[in-house]
């Protein structure tokens, strides 16, 4: 069984020849900053939830390298279809912090991204984004673009028929789609090893006859590199890829969850040593002159930015009641038009 693809050890040492992009300090700094931004957003979101100012929230703590690594390889021609745990990826794609807060605060306008207009919003029904990704890939293929559909789901998502049916059609039709698994070892309280007996989740690609690869999901360089390769293959008409990113969910499943019910600290602690930010920071410090100042400045600006976004979000008044029917159809049928009137702008 091959090791998952990785370039940086948990301590940040280079363990394999770096891909070109990872030799560039600016690129690495950008990746690091993006992960830090996601983590800061995360902390703020949890704080807001704890004080009743945000809805149930799914933290990406410890898995920031996945969303950031994947999306940093993508272009505007591609389409991103996240699960509910890829805030870092959404942010990299251009979704704003305010939009994310709005979504998690329970406001549909959070899905009306100013940025990546073609990207899908957060997907709550587990694995149901994979069929969409197949459909998006079909459209991209049909319209002879170079675009690729890139969907992310969890380890639990791989047990669902949607995942499998979609993977299979991606194979059968050579669709330009990449399915990324954020294997954070847990689906709420169910361990990866209780979810499936498959040796790796990447192995599930065998069932669809497409390449599957396991990468170190805490190594943003590995995630990006694997995604870049898969994107290249897809753009070259070679079809889809399944990428399993091995990571760990350091926090609760969501703010509604209490992970201490089903796992010990003793299990969690070692994973803190392997999380994605430390290793890249170590690498930046050792190789690209990243200093304490840089770190502090980053945390400060990111913190400020997130705080400001939170304030903006909190100041956004809810939509009028009629919004709940105004967008159901392009042209509201008679009854809904009447209902909208009745609900009014209050």
């Amino acid at each position: 069984m091959p090791e998952p693809l990785g370039f940086l050890s948990a301590a940040g040492e280079v363990v394999r020849d770096l891909p070109d992009f990872a030799r560039d300090g600016d690129t690495l700094r950008a990746l690091y900053s993006a992960m830090a931004r996601a983590r800061t957003f995360d902390a703020k979101a949890i704080a807001l939830q704890r004080t009743g100012r945000l809805g149930t929230y799914a933290s990406s703590l410890g898995q920031e390298a996945i969303g950031v690594g994947v999306t940093s390889a993508m272009t505007d021609a591609d389409v991103f279809l996240p699960s509910f745990r890829e805030h870092g990826g959404q942010l990299w794609r251009g979704v704003t912090l305010v939009e994310l807060f709005l979504y998690w605060g329970g406001d549909e306008r959070g899905n009306d991204f100013a940025g990546p207009r073609q990207d899908f919003p957060v997907c709550i029904p587990v694995a149901s984004q994979f069929p969409h990704a197949a459909g998006v890939a079909l459209a991209l293929q049909q319209k002879a673009t170079t675009g690729v559909a890139v969907a992310v789901g969890g380890d639990g998502a791989t047990s669902k028929g949607d995942f499998y049916e979609a993977l299979n059609v991606v194979g059968a039709w050579d669709l330009p789609a990449i399915f990324v698994i954020n294997n954070n070892q847990w689906a709420i309280s169910v361990r990866r090893t209780d979810q499936t007996r498959a040796r790796t989740l990447a192995d599930k690609a065998v069932a669809a006859g497409i390449p599957g690869e396991q990468v170190d999901g805490n190594d943003v360089i590995a995630v990006r590199e694997a995604t870049e390769r898969a994107l290249r293959r897809a753009r070259d008409g070679e079809g889809g890829t399944l990428i399993e990113c091995v990571s760990y969910r350091l926090g609760d499943h969501t703010t509604a969850d209490d992970a201490s019910r089903y796992r010990d600290d003793a299990e969690v602690s070692p994973h803190w040593k392997a999380e994605p930010l430390i290793r890249l920071r170590n690498h930046l410090v050792a190789n690209h002159g990243w200093r304490k100042d840089d770190e502090q400045a980053l945390l400060r600006t990111t913190g400020d930015e997130v705080d400001k976004a939170a304030e903006t979000y909190l100041a956004v008044a809810p939509e009028p009641a009629r919004a709940m029917v105004d967008h159901l159809y392009a042209t509201p049928p008679a009854d809904l038009a009447a209902l909208a009137e009745e609900l009014g702008d209050g």
Partner: protein, 326 residues
């Protein structure tokens, strides 16, 4: 203008849509070289190629879900579920995604897809091949559910469904696929998608139905006419949204109503119509609103199928009771 069956009309509409809009794409099981198990897509792969007329793997969830994705990304997928009995696996994608994408993104992403499926019984098909589960779909906000009752209506409504900017489930009464022919011009003209139509005007009684059951409904109206009862026949046509005004207007005129559908009684769509009338037309009603439906059971295997389906006689008998009510 030539006479066409409903299956031909469906094919004509699909062909027309493929021709007029390069974004239209068809997929489903056996719709390619086989032309669909009912031949709805016969010849289309030859004319439009295997990129636009595609056989899918045997995966109803992905047929629906892929349609959502393709629609959001700029295509106009017209997907087929081979029989309505196999559409249940697509409900999750319909209810949780197709019907909501516009609303939950505040119209940033939309879902102009059509999911076609033959529905209904009466052709002695194997089990699970005779479902009429339209009421389940009509309960999903954000969907459209359309059922044509004749070749010409199938042509015009299917074009309307394909051009509609929102998701439409288009249910084809398979019993009618080859049962009737009528003049259908391949004019490219769509019919209004949200409108019920009065198929026959009358003064004493309103008969509301849709799809294949209009056959028995019309036959019942004929029998009733011979008895001097003038029935107005409303073809509901759009099951979601419902053209409530049209139904109410008819019942306000006639004062009596019988609703006919093939699906089981309980929580069938007839309930919604009767409830609407009970709320909005109570004072016009001269008799209780009655429903003639499939019995409140699973569609039996072919040997008892006829005993399940609402018959002309049942409709006539119920209508007579409604007429005699004082």
């Amino acid at each position: 203008m030539a006479e066409h069956t409903m299956i031909e009309a469906v094919r004509m509409a699909l062909g027309r849509a493929l021709e007029e809009d390069p974004d239209v794409i068809l997929f489903g099981e056996d719709i390619g070289i086989d032309g669909g198990v009912f031949r709805a897509t016969d010849g289309l792969i030859q004319r439009h190629g295997s990129a636009r007329v595609r056989d899918t793997p045997l995966s109803e969830t992905v047929i629906a879900g892929m349609a959502v994705g393709a629609a959001a990304a700029g295509l106009r997928p017209v997907a087929e579920i081979q029989f309505m009995g196999f559409l249940y696996s697509a409900i999750d994608q319909l209810a949780n995604h197709a019907a909501r994408l516009r609303n939950r993104t505040r119209a940033r992403l939309t879902c102009p897809m059509v999911l076609r499926a033959p529905y209904g019984g009466g052709i002695r098909a194997p089990e699970h091949h005779s479902e009429s589960a339209e009421a389940m779909l009509a309960h999903i906000p954000g969907l459209r559910v359309v059922i044509p009752s004749s070749p010409a209506r199938a042509y015009g409504l299917l074009l309307a469904a394909i051009r509609d900017p929102d998701p439409v489930v288009f249910l084809e009464p398979k019993r009618l696929y080859r049962a009737i022919s009528e003049d259908v011009a391949d004019s490219g003209e769509a019919l209004p998608i949200d409108a019920a139509v009065v198929l026959r005007e009358g003064t004493d009684l309103t008969l509301v139905s849709w799809g294949a059951m209009l056959t028995e409904t019309k036959a019942a109206a004929d029998t009733l006419a011979a008895d001097g009862v003038s029935s107005e026949i409303v073809d509901l046509s759009s099951l979601k949204p419902i053209d409530r005004r049209a139904v109410r207007a008819s019942v306000e005129k006639t004062g009596r109503c019988v609703i006919v559908h093939e699906a089981p009684l309980t929580a069938g769509l007839g309930a919604e119509i009767a409830a609407d009338l009970a709320e909005h037309c109570l004072m016009s009603l001269l008799a209780p609103v009655r429903r003639v439906t499939g019995h409140d059971t699973v569609m039996p295997y072919p040997r008892l199928e006829r005993r399940y389906m609402p018959s002309t006689e049942r409709i006539v008998r119920t209508a007579q009771e409604v007429m005699e009510f004082a």
